[in-house]
């Protein structure tokens, strides 16, 4: 069962919220450089699964292993420093800061580590970090908005900026929780192109998505989650033809 290409292994994870069994016996293996999609109806436990991976929630049992390191029990900032970044379902951004600063901050975390008392240096003299952030904003098509307050952006732009905040860290594993929700068709297509471009660079991704068009144009592998269980997984074609998946999506969830 040990596949040397597996970089993320979610092993026998359970998560209970009181009486609710939000994740039941989840076993998920993500291979290096691949895009692994997780699909499933609302409330299936998809976001909860990402929360367990990045240390926002502790699993009730089981553990998560990333590239040989056990993540369970580590703090979110330690998990990020190992090379895992996440785009949230509702954007988590620095609303009171400019778009440019929003993107420079994660770059500083990557360069300086989890704490550095560099208070006599001027932020303006960080020209390298600034140039990197501007390139990143250019990539997501937001360079023109760099001086705006992040909080005043449209929902779609907030997501794109948050994506830039993750990408600038060149994470080894990128987790995306519905990255195109709230975007127009045009913005969705731009985002797909961007994600395909990163895929070419070999970044491993776990993506939660409702939009089947997005899923089938990006995923190498798909896992289907319903009521906290993985009910099917395989290549996009295998999953598409699976009757259990049809049932879960057509509302026959029992």
């Amino acid at each position: 069962m040990t596949n040397p290409n597996v970089v993320l292994h979610v092993a026998d994870v359970h998560k209970r919220f009181g009486g609710l069994h939000a994740l039941a016996d989840i076993d998920l293996q993500v291979e290096e450089g691949k895009t692994h999609a997780i699909i499933g109806p609302n409330g299936a436990g998809k976001s909860t699964l990402l929360n367990v991976i990045i240390g926002k929630l502790a699993p009730s049992s089981g553990q998560v292993v990333f590239d040989g390191a056990v993540l369970t029990g580590r703090k979110p900032f330690q998990i990020n420093q190992l090379g895992i970044a996440r785009v949230f379902q509702t954007p988590e951004i620095f609303a009171d800061l400019s778009v440019l600063h929003n993107v420079m901050i994660p770059a500083l975390a990557k360069r300086d580590g989890m704490f550095k008392l560099n208070m006599l240096r001027a932020l303006d003299s960080e020209t390298g970090i600034r140039a990197e952030a501007e390139d990143m904003l250019e990539d997501v098509g937001m360079l023109a908005r760099r001086d705006m307050l992040a909080g005043s952006l449209s929902r779609g732009d907030k997501r794109r900026m948050e994506l830039a905040m993750c990408l600038i860290q060149h994470p080894r594993l990128l987790l995306l929780d519905e990255p195109t929700a709230g975007m127009s068709r045009h913005d969705t297509n731009t985002t797909i192109e961007l994600l395909q471009k990163i895929k070419a660079r070999g970044m491993t991704k776990v993506i939660i998505e409702h939009d089947m068009h997005v899923v089938f144009s990006l995923a190498d592998k798909i896992s289907v989650l319903a009521q906290g269980r993985i009910i099917a997984d395989g290549s996009p074609d295998e999953v598409r033809g699976n009757p259990k998946v049809q049932e879960a999506y057509l509302g026959g969830t029992h």
């Binding site: 990045i54 926002k56 703090k75 979110p76 900032f77 990020n80 420093q81 970044a85 996440r86 988590e92 951004i93 620095f94 609303a95 009171d96 800061l97 400019s98 778009v99 600063h101 420079m104 901050i105 994660p106 500083l108 975390a109 990557k110 300086d112 580590g113 989890m114 704490f115 550095k116 008392l117 560099n118 208070m119 006599l120 240096r121 001027a122 932020l123 303006d124 003299s125 960080e126 001086d147 705006m148 307050l149 005043s152 905040m165 860290q169």
Partner: protein, 378 residues
């Protein structure tokens, strides 16, 4: 210098320095151009600038910063008693001691955030006050307050063969620090304190503090350990408070427990909010205004009010004296509270927001380009 500070920062700093150094001149028409009051402007300006690093930049509202101010005063007076009457060692000693004290209290209080953090700081400060007032009497001289006496050991001065005749007073390299010398001494520290705060706000570290205030969750998932950042901000602002406390001891070498009371902690919160939380200059202006009006209003009494209202018919004059009398003298806190309520309701960004609004009105009148209408950051 340009890669240390941007042009705007440099201009702000130069302007600030000029305004401070010329205060004895431009404050004279307001009846505030005398050293004793000017010194207090400097000291509470430092206190507020430091407080803003924690509250304004990092978003942690401490209700206990007077404790560090008080510790600074006690430490400075002890330095005068045990070592030397020179002000510099006293200030260094005070800043170090209040920094260590802030490290311990900050470490404990920062285990919580929001309102729980505020309450913890308040609790620790009240404990410090009570300790200073009673339990720690051997160190603080309790109710009477710690003061200098002729028989203090002053070991460093003794070694150097310096003795004092009459009541001992702090000095700087043998020069007395009374009158304007005292003011310029404190002004130098305010300018230095402002410069450092400006550098901190414009550094990557300062950006992290602002980011913590904006979204602590995102900071954690971005790979930052937010605790040491917040603790550093707490200790820095505690050291600023200690510096302010030490300077007060330099100008008036008597340290009492009331400096640590919650009303003193609340006052620096008011100064910061009144001037403008998170702005560099706002807290200083807030401190100056509060100290100015405190000076005027707390000196008023019923006789002065009676003279002021004497143009009214007798009955009306008496009523006005009775009403206004509640707001002056010891009742000055009532006025302060009222002003505070008005500012928070109508001008939540403080005086600096008022300045920005007025500047914005002028800019709009002189015709605006569409580019300035998109919301700029900061």
């Amino acid at each position: 210098m340009t890669n240390l500070m941007s042009r705007n920062d440099l201009l702000l700093f130069a302007g600030f320095t000029l305004v401070v150094l010329t205060m004895p001149i431009w404050l004279a028409p307001f009846g505030a151009g005398y050293p004793d009051l000017l010194q207090r402007f400097m000291i509470f300006g430092i206190f507020a600038v430091g407080f803003n690093i924690l509250f304004g930049l990092t978003g942690y509202l401490s209700f206990g910063h007077a404790a560090f101010f008080g510790v600074g005063s006690y430490a400075a007076v002890w330095s005068f008693k045990l070592l030397t009457l020179d002000a510099i060692p006293a200030i260094l000693f005070a800043v170090i001691i209040s920094g260590l004290f802030a490290l311990v209290i900050g470490y404990l209080c920062l285990r919580r955030s929001g309102i729980y953090f505020s309450i913890l700081t308040l609790a620790f400060a009240q404990m410090s006050y009570n300790l200073a007032y009673s339990v720690l009497t051997p160190i603080t001289n309790g109710e009477t307050g710690l003061q200098l006496t002729l028989n203090d050991p002053r070991s460093l001065d003794a070694v150097l063969g310096q003795s004092v005749a009459g009541q001992p007073v702090p000095n700087l390299l043998g020069q007395p620090l009374s009158g304007y010398a005292g003011f310029y001494f404190c002004a130098g520290f305010l300018i230095l304190a402002f410069f450092l705060a400006q550098r901190i706000a414009g550094s990557p570290f300062g950006m992290m503090l602002k980011a913590i205030k904006s979204n602590q969750t995102r900071m954690q998932f971005t790979g930052f350990n937010t605790r040491p950042y917040a603790l550093s901000a707490f200790v820095i602002s505690g050291m600023y408070a200690g510096l302010a406390g030490a300077l007060l001891a330099v100008t008036d070498p008597l340290a009492g427990a009331e400096r640590m009371q919650w009303t003193a902690s609340g006052e620096v919160v008011l100064m910061t909010i009144l001037g403008g939380v998170g702005t560099l200059i706002g807290p200083v202006i807030g401190a100056w205004l509060i100290k100015y009006f405190e000076n005027i209003l707390s000196a008023l009494n019923d006789q002065i009010l009676a003279r002021f209202w004497s143009f009214l018919p007798d009955g009306a004059a008496d009523t006005m004296v009775a009403i206004t009398g509640k707001f002056v003298g010891d009742g000055w806190f009532l006025t302060l509270g009222l002003v505070f309520v008005i500012v928070v309701i109508f001008l939540p960004g403080g005086i600096m927001e008022g300045v920005r609004r007025i500047a914005g009105m002028f800019r709009r009148r002189s015709g605006s380009s569409p580019a300035t209408r998109t919301q700029p950051a900061e």
